[in-house]
């Protein structure tokens, strides 16, 4: 057991790795009422192809299976999982992203019992034709609900324009067809491969007795046998250095058009630290260029080309990355051309001036991150997967040099790698 006290943030973090490979992280928050636990599995909607640990063969599973598995694990032989949590006054939930599946609960009492419930249901698969078929009905409703969400729809139109083979272009929940094809056998296969303790992290936050809890988890894990400690090799198909489609358009029943623009970033940094550094550096650059304190944002806003819905972010993962601009506008053409025009005239002085001011804001954001349990857990996992200690984040940000920003400003806004996704109003 390792105990870290971060003096500046006044935070205690306890780390432990069990023999079966499970990592435990505990943020000990004295004086808080809420207790929060999350099991994060390093398996998301992107991981549809992998080498099976048992046979060594490459398998391809249906799109949306990680999310389906997340839903199905809540089914149990004897009693409903939710019932068990409800008995303890705790509320359980789960979500699937491109890169991970996360199971969590929050409680204010009975934490230890709820924690054992959580570990047990995540590590005990039970799938039948009946339960799988029932879940299909629910998930198809969920897919349909998201199809009515103009932001979600245009985001996936954008991603399918950016990527021709990378699975990030697929909706996290899959399609009505792919979901309909899922069988209990598929689910067992994915569970066996990815739900190994070594492929999971357990994050606990609250006013907790860490030693007692670690012993409890150890004991629980010793009662279970895991087929193999190896983790599967994910297969991500090679992605093209160009974009798939430059323009994607669709019509929906909405009040005004919605625009998403992306610039595909084809240069992936080689080390985890460089990935994080680039993620922050490009986001700082975007902040300088497009945030509400920027000249551009205010110019566009005053001209009525954009409104407060406008946002800019840079997504950087180990295997893909892109700059993402979003906004709602009645004048999509003017909005896009104004943005592109303004990107041709990025002045070094503009970056310089903005860069001087920005670090205080990032320090403020870093401090705020420790306030909210669920976002702390999510951020923590994000960095931990890359092998980065969350308390070293400000140090990494401090190392960013202004020259890096000049460099990114020069290469990343490449119009050949740009995709635009527009959703227009049906009545237009």
């Amino acid at each position: 057991m390792e105990k870290v006290y971060d003096k500046k943030m006044k935070e205690i973090l306890i780390k432990e790795k069990l023999d079966n490979g499970l990592h435990i992280y505990i943020f000990n928050k004295k004086g808080f009422t809420k207790q929060y636990a999350m099991v994060s599995v390093d398996y998301g909607s992107n991981d549809i192809e992998f080498i099976d640990v048992e046979t060594g063969e490459k398998v391809r599973t249906p799109e949306g299976i990680a999310h389906f598995l997340e839903h199905q694990l809540f089914e149990d032989k004897e009693a409903s999982i939710f019932d068990k949590f409800a008995d303890l006054g705790a509320s359980a939930n789960a979500y699937t992203s491109f890169n991970s599946t996360n199971y969590l609960f929050s409680s204010t009492e009975n934490f230890n019992k709820a924690l054992i419930n959580l570990l047990n249901f995540v590590q005990t698969p039970y799938f039948t034709d009946k339960s799988v078929n029932k879940e299909k009905g629910i998930i198809i409703q969920e897919i349909k609900m998201y199809q009515d969400d103009p932001y979600w729809r245009s985001l996936f139109n954008l991603l399918s324009g950016l990527y021709s083979t990378h699975p990030v272009k697929n909706d996290i929940a899959g399609t009505v067809e792919s979901v309909s094809s899922i069988s209990p056998e598929d689910l067992y296969l994915c569970h066996k491969n990815f739900y190994q303790p070594a492929n999971m992290d357990l994050i606990l936050i609250g006013d907790l007795n860490e030693e007692k809890i670690i012993n409890l988890v150890k004991e629980n894990q010793l009662q279970k046998s895991f087929s193999d400690i190896k983790t599967p090799v994910k297969v991500i198909p090679e992605e093209s250095k160009t974009v798939n489609k430059k323009h994607v358009e669709e019509e929906m029943n909405i009040s005004r058009p919605l625009v998403q623009i992306a610039f595909k970033d084809i240069e992936t940094p080689s080390t985890p630290k460089e990935i994080i550094k680039k993620e922050y550096a490009v986001n700082i650059l975007l902040d300088i260029l497009f945030s509400r304190s920027s000249v551009r944002y205010n110019k566009f806003y005053e001209k009525g080309i954009i409104d407060s819905s406008f946002s800019s972010t840079y997504i950087r993962k180990e295997d893909y990355g892109y700059i993402h601009l979003y906004g709602e506008s009645r004048e999509t053409g003017r909005m896009i051309s104004a943005i592109l025009e303004s990107l041709k005239e990025i002045e070094k002085s503009e970056i310089h001036e903005g860069f001087m001011r920005i670090k205080k804001k990032y320090l403020g954001n870093y401090i705020k991150m420790f306030n909210n349990f669920s976002s702390l857990a999510a951020e923590f996992i994000n960095y931990r997967r890359l092998g980065i200690d969350i308390f070293s984040l400000m140090k990494i940000i401090d190392e960013i040099k202004i020259e890096e920003l000049y460099g990114y400003a020069d290469i990343l806004f490449n119009e050949d790698l740009m995709v635009e996704s527009i959703v227009k109003n049906k009545q237009d």
């Binding site: 809420k34 008995d87 409703q141 909405i254 009040s255 945030s291």
Partner: protein, 423 residues
């Protein structure tokens, strides 16, 4: 410091303060309470904060404001327009990092509060009214905001159900007003409305965090709130009209249909039965073990979501669901049946305990978020029954099965609104 109670600070104004050092940020909210009178006045009131936030005398442009906020370690200033009962509330919020976590000694509380109060009380003017340019831009944005409700089908369906249900009452007025009257108002009228609010509206300040004594004692001598009256509602019409259920269907190209059912409870937060109503709502549609979620989604796969919530100042309840349009009749029948089941006492003791535990767990968790603490206390102040979370939990614990049955009996279906794809 650990009972999480708001105290009223001695001041000529109504200042509610919860002292705690457990958060890494401090929160200050300033509220103005405006009774809903007409769509056009609601539209004007909602526009005022948007124009104010654009610039003050000391900070005349958005860029200057945002640059200043960056220097203040990413402090956030925002506004919201809320509806509680038949009142509109304008809320200005400031959240900034607790100075104890910084090396620099810059008096963050004072500097960020000065920025907030300058924006609210010292607006940039031209020719004795708001800056015309800001007024026109924000008016345009508000028109877009009102129109964009349709993009979010969940909230659209809930709002349409309430609007139809209360079309002859003030509660039927949308919190942002309507596009038509917005287009008709002028910058001058807006400024006059602002002056009126500034001189007479009920107002109060909520503070959660770790503030220095000197800051608290100085700051409120400097600002000029319109009135010493707290934001207590004495305006909302709470009568339950006697009438037939109205059924409304709207067609639109959607993939998932929305079925919403509006109810009258006649029970508000200041009443003894309020605690029982909380449990009824929880049991019916408040969480994943609720009757509606179990019957409609888990047992029959008829919906992706179905839930219920209460409005506790006017006395309403809403059931909202996303379904396949062919299942309309069946889901509506199930909703009615589940309410009848609660009235008849047809729920297990386990379900009853779950329902209570679920609310209590959620309320306890609110103790860990400054915004939730403020939001909870706001409702109790508005309903003139200031109550801490701990006291509310104790009252919920006392609710018995019979209280639930008799309270559920008072819930009357009023309006069913159905949004579906074109046939």
């Amino acid at each position: 410091m650990d009972n999480f109670k708001f105290e009223k600070i001695k001041s000529k104004y109504s200042i509610h303060y919860l002292a705690t050092d457990k958060f890494k940020t401090n929160l200050i909210q300033i509220y103005f309470m405006l009774p809903l009178t007409s769509w056009s006045e609601a539209a004007m009131n909602a526009l005022i904060p948007a124009v104010l936030i654009r610039g003050s005398n000391r900070f005349p442009e958005s860029r200057i404001i945002k640059t200043e906020l960056k220097k203040l370690y990413g402090a956030g200033i925002s506004f919201s327009v809320l509806k509680r009962g038949e009142n509109q509330l304008l809320r200005f919020s400031l959240e900034y990092v607790n100075e104890n976590y910084l090396d620099e000694n810059i008096n963050l509380s004072r500097k960020s509060f000065e920025l907030l109060s300058d924006l609210i009380f010292n607006p940039l003017l031209e020719e004795k009214k708001f800056v015309e340019k800001y007024y026109l831009q924000e008016k345009k944005n508000q028109i877009e905001n009102i129109n964009s409700l349709i993009n979010d089908k969940y909230n659209y369906a809930v709002e349409k159900c309430f609007q139809n249900m209360c079309k002859d009452e003030k509660y039927g007025i949308y919190k942002l007003g309507d596009v038509k009257s917005l287009k008709e108002n002028s910058c001058e009228e807006l400024y006059n409305q602002y002056k009126k609010i500034k001189s007479s509206a009920r107002s109060s300040v909520f503070m959660v965090g770790d503030f220095k004594k000197s800051f608290i004692s100085n700051v409120f001598d400097e600002i000029k709130l319109p009135s010493t009256d707290d934001i207590i509602d004495n305006f909302t019409d709470k009568t339950v009209p006697e009438r037939e259920v109205q059924y409304i269907t709207e067609e639109m190209s959607v993939n998932q249909a929305k079925l919403t059912a509006g109810f009258r409870t006649g029970i508000t937060r200041d009443m003894e039965e309020y605690y029982a109503l909380l449990v009824v709502n929880s049991l019916l549609g408040g969480f994943s073990q609720s009757k509606l979620f179990q019957e409609v989604r888990e047992k029959r796969s008829l919906a992706y979501y179905i839930n219920s919530f209460i409005e506790s100042t006017k006395g309403l309840m809403m059931v909202s669901s996303g379904i396949n349009p062919d299942n309309y009749v069946e889901v509506l029948k199930l909703i009615k049946e589940q309410i009848a089941a609660v009235v008849a006492g047809d729920f297990t003791d386990r379900e009853f305990q779950w329902a209570k535990k679920s609310i209590i767990n959620r309320l306890k968790q609110d103790l860990d978020s400054s915004k939730s603490l403020a939001a909870h206390y706001l409702l109790s102040v508005i309903n003139d029954k200031p109550e801490s979370i701990i006291s509310e939990i104790n009252n919920i614990k006392k609710v018995g099965r019979n209280d639930i049955m008799s309270t559920a009996e008072k819930i009357k279906l009023d309006t069913v609104y159905f949004l579906r794809s074109e046939e």
